[in-house]
Symmetry: C2
């Protein structure tokens, strides 16, 4: 008998707002990771691009943007910088010359390797403090939520 709509309900408190809760939770988790990355003069965005390229191999930019949660205009600039820093390369798809295909370099892979131990340590700390089960549960829920399409219907 609690959450029925017998009163004109206001907006949920910000702690029960999914977008805000997701953002705040992310800030918590990103704290130590940002600290780690700052030692390599690399930011969150480049780190995401590196991991996506490492995971998928050579990939067209539109796909990279989707996977790394970046818009194409941002990715254009970021990839350009990463090329200059030797972290990524790019070329034109011979089958469709509109497409630009990016790939991680050895230096990029080395950067990932260089942070692997600490990254895993941060995750281990999270599992210790939050609980291994809860982390799994949360990842499962997020993974499923990602796949929804919430537009209109």
């Amino acid at each position: 008998m609690f959450s029925s709509d017998d009163t004109p309900k206001p907006l949920r408190g910000t702690r029960r707002s999914l977008p805000i809760a997701l953002l705040r939770a992310r800030e918590t988790v990103m704290g130590p990771i940002r600290e780690m990355l700052s030692q390599s003069n690399i930011n969150e965005q480049k780190w995401r691009v590196l991991r996506v390229l490492d995971e998928r191999g050579p990939t067209e930019l539109t796909q990279v943007a989707k996977d790394a949660c970046l818009l194409l205009p941002s990715l254009t600039r970021i990839i350009r910088a990463m090329e200059e820093e030797g972290l990524a390369t790019r070329g034109t798809d011979p089958d469709d010359r509109r497409k630009s295909i990016a790939a991680i370099t050895e230096a990029g892979r080395a950067l990932i390797l260089a942070h692997m131990a600490e990254s895993n340590a941060i995750f281990a700390r999270l599992e210790r403090d939050f609980g291994q089960e809860k982390v799994e549960q949360l990842l499962d829920l997020l993974d499923e939520l990602q796949t929804l399409d919430l537009y209109k219907p």
Copy 2:
């Protein structure tokens, strides 16, 4: 016998990376909300500030920044714009004149009201597609995660 560390384990896939998963899930949820807000010429950040001010009443900027997940330099600009648009006011704390206290205006509250129905509808759609229980579960997990302190120990 699966996830033991008997092999030099690589980084988790990006779908099992909590920061990336949080970001992707948030993008999914924010889609319809951004659509809603764009009709009022308001962006995510101003919306968060409005909701925090509505929820807490007059609040010093440092606290607003924490709650709305903004850095102070961003908040400085955003609050200035919101003052000009009549959505918020601010004054100096008489007890500590370093502090600036912001408050929501009637126009600000009206803007929240104007979007309440649609906001609740979006949330209802989420509950329908994702499941009410899972939404609750997710919010609980996120709320708890927010409160952790993951620095060093």
